[in-house]
């Protein structure tokens, strides 16, 4: 971001506010573009993964090769579909709820370090920002559920509220564990630390436990199976977005896949080294002595590495979704409070002890 502002100020001669807004526009535009393209790809991927797990083909006929254009067709169709606003609904809330939901996830993207220095906002409190901004989505969902004036929507919204709020505790606890080891809230610091020392997941068994706790609670945060209660199709028809049609509904769709990306990217960054390759110092690749790559090339490699790791976790999320049955609402709570929260704290305390005594597989 700062770099971009600098570029606009120096190269194009823009001043102050103008440079800032120009930089903002570029960032938002590129991010929106990225999210849209990513979500389309992820939806197509989900359908293909699901299909092949279920011994069928998935999209085949839309677009020439294995239905690659399927999501584009979906988007075109949703764009030109009638937008129904139920007459009994609270219209203002009904209108803005999808936007609120999307904003929450969208804001999460700005702190993710895609590669060395490629980060829209390099916040010192990046993780803290992520945790807090993710809660905005819940407000949108409750707005959607309440404004729809449908009982099924209301059920979905209340379930979502209970679930996401509960699972923020284990999420935060698990996130504290790598923070404890690295000693920073800044996301890029994790990448640099792991570039030097190896992946955090192999730091100690407790770190693995924390990773598992985070993964499970991030599933709940993303409303992915087996925690898809807010939109449980076989119980609540479609949950909080039962009354939404057309483009507004597609925002909820987009949000789900975007939040999957954020959760997986955080998982990849904090435990699996983000854009780095372990024990390889990518900053040296620009030297003419080693590879002599340009900055852009190194950045691209970083992006590819991060995306590969992220998509692995997205794949695992899909894999789980097409394997597991759904939990019941009280079981979700039980899992959260009786299993994940205690074990998150165990991981935290044990990691603290390990760090104090310098134990672990690669103590630092």
């Amino acid at each position: 971001m700062e770099t971009l502002i600098g570029v606009f100020e120096q190269q194009l001669g823009l001043e102050g506010v103008w440079a800032l807004s120009a930089a903002y526009s570029v960032c938002i535009g590129s991010l929106l573009g990225f999210i849209t393209v990513y979500a389309m790809f992820a939806i197509w991927m989900e359908r293909k993964v699901a299909a092949h797990m279920q011994v069928r083909m998935g999209p085949m006929e839309t677009g020439a090769w294995h239905g690659w254009a399927q999501s584009i067709a979906d988007a075109v169709k949703l764009l030109f579909k009638e937008d129904i606003i139920p007459s009994q609904s609270n219209k203002v809330m009904f209108w803005i709820a999808p936007a609120v939901v999307f904003c929450g996830v969208f804001a999460g993207f700005i702190v993710i370090p895609f590669a060395l220095g490629l980060q829209i906002a390099d916040l010192n409190l990046g993780i803290f920002f992520l945790i807090s901004i993710a809660s905005i989505e819940v407000i949108g969902v409750i707005m959607a559920g309440w404004a729809s004036n449908s009982k099924y929507s209301l059920f979905g919204a209340i379930r979502e509220a209970a679930q996401v709020v509960s699972y923020e505790i284990p999420t935060a606890t698990a996130l504290l564990v790598p923070i404890l080891v690295v000693g920073s809230f800044r996301l890029d610091d994790f990448n640099l630390w792991q570039e030097a020392n190896g992946w955090l997941i192999f730091h100690s068994p407790w770190m693995m436990l924390a990773g598992l706790v985070f993964f499970i609670s991030s599933l709940a945060g993303c409303k992915r199976a087996p925690f898809d209660l807010p939109e449980a199709e076989s119980e609540l028809v479609s949950g909080f977005h039962t009354e939404y049609s057309g483009m507004r509904f597609s925002f909820f769709f987009l949000e789900e896949y975007a939040s999957m990306f954020v959760a997986s990217a955080v998982m990849a960054t904090l435990w699996f080294g983000g854009w780095t390759i372990p024990f390889v110092d990518m900053s040296t690749w620009t030297d003419p002595d080693s590879f002599g790559l340009s900055d852009v090339a190194v950045t691209s490699i970083g992006i590819v590495v991060l995306l590969a790791k992220t998509f692995f976790f997205i794949f695992v999320q899909m894999w789980l979704r097409w394997t597991l049955p759904r939990l019941r609402v009280d079981q979700v709570m039980t899992l959260g409070y009786k299993y994940l929260v205690p074990w998150g704290f165990v991981a935290l305390v044990m990691t603290a002890i390990f760090k104090y005594y310098g134990w672990g597989w690669f103590p630092n």
């Binding site: 797990m53 011994v55 069928r56 083909m57 085949m60 394997t323 597991l324 299993y339």
Partner: protein, 193 residues
């Protein structure tokens, strides 16, 4: 200590059974090819006995209405005028809006002239298109005309007209198609018995 055992047992069982389930889906994902039959491009093998659309050997049919009587839903409508043994066909329709493909119209036929093909595609956007006409011709063919004249002549004690007018039945290509289908059905009937 039952509660503690339950607690850890739950964790262990949840993790192991999830892993087992995931191994099943992964096995299918990696090792089992899709079993999909890509319909408009590939087709399943339809067994010989399949009860699909009807087909009629019109020259054999004697207008006995046994099939229509056997039909539980009354979807067969037959209309013909008898000129002695020759029939002037008006109508032989099956209403697929009603037909339940139960096969009860096949066994009663005394001359074995109505059959079921292995075809099934009937989708249409017009409600009136679903009544299928099984007739290849309506009214009297020239040879029928000739047969009637012959029998009338015989009755009147006169000499029969010498030459039967030969005329191609309308829609010849369609008829060839139909003849091939009937031959196929006969072949599979022979195989069955």
């Amino acid at each position: 200590m039952g509660a503690v055992r339950d607690y850890f047992g739950n964790i262990a069982s949840a993790l192991t059974t999830t892993a087992k389930g995931m191994s099943v889906t992964l096995h299918h994902f990696r090792n089992e090819p899709p079993i999909t039959v890509q319909y408009p491009f590939e087709r399943m093998n339809i067994p010989d006995r399949y009860r699909g659309l009807h087909i009629l050997e019109q020259d054999k049919c004697i207008d006995c209405h046994l099939c229509a009587k056997a039909c539980p839903v009354d979807c067969i409508e037959i209309e013909a005028i008898h000129h002695g043994r020759t029939l002037e066909w008006k109508k032989f329709t099956i209403d697929y809006k009603k037909c339940i493909f139960c096969e009860f119209c096949i066994p009663p036929c005394p001359v074995d002239c109505i059959h079921m093909t292995t075809e099934y595609e009937l989708a249409t956007d017009n409600v009136d298109d679903m009544t299928e006409d099984l007739l290849s011709w309506t009214g009297l063919r020239p040879e029928d005309q000739f047969a009637i004249e012959a029998s009338e002549a015989k009755k009147a004690g006169k000499a029969a007209p010498t030459k039967a007018a030969t005329a191609a039945p309308e829609g010849g290509g369609d008829d060839d198609d139909k003849a091939a289908k009937i031959a196929a059905i006969k072949a599979r009937m022979a195989k069955k018995s």
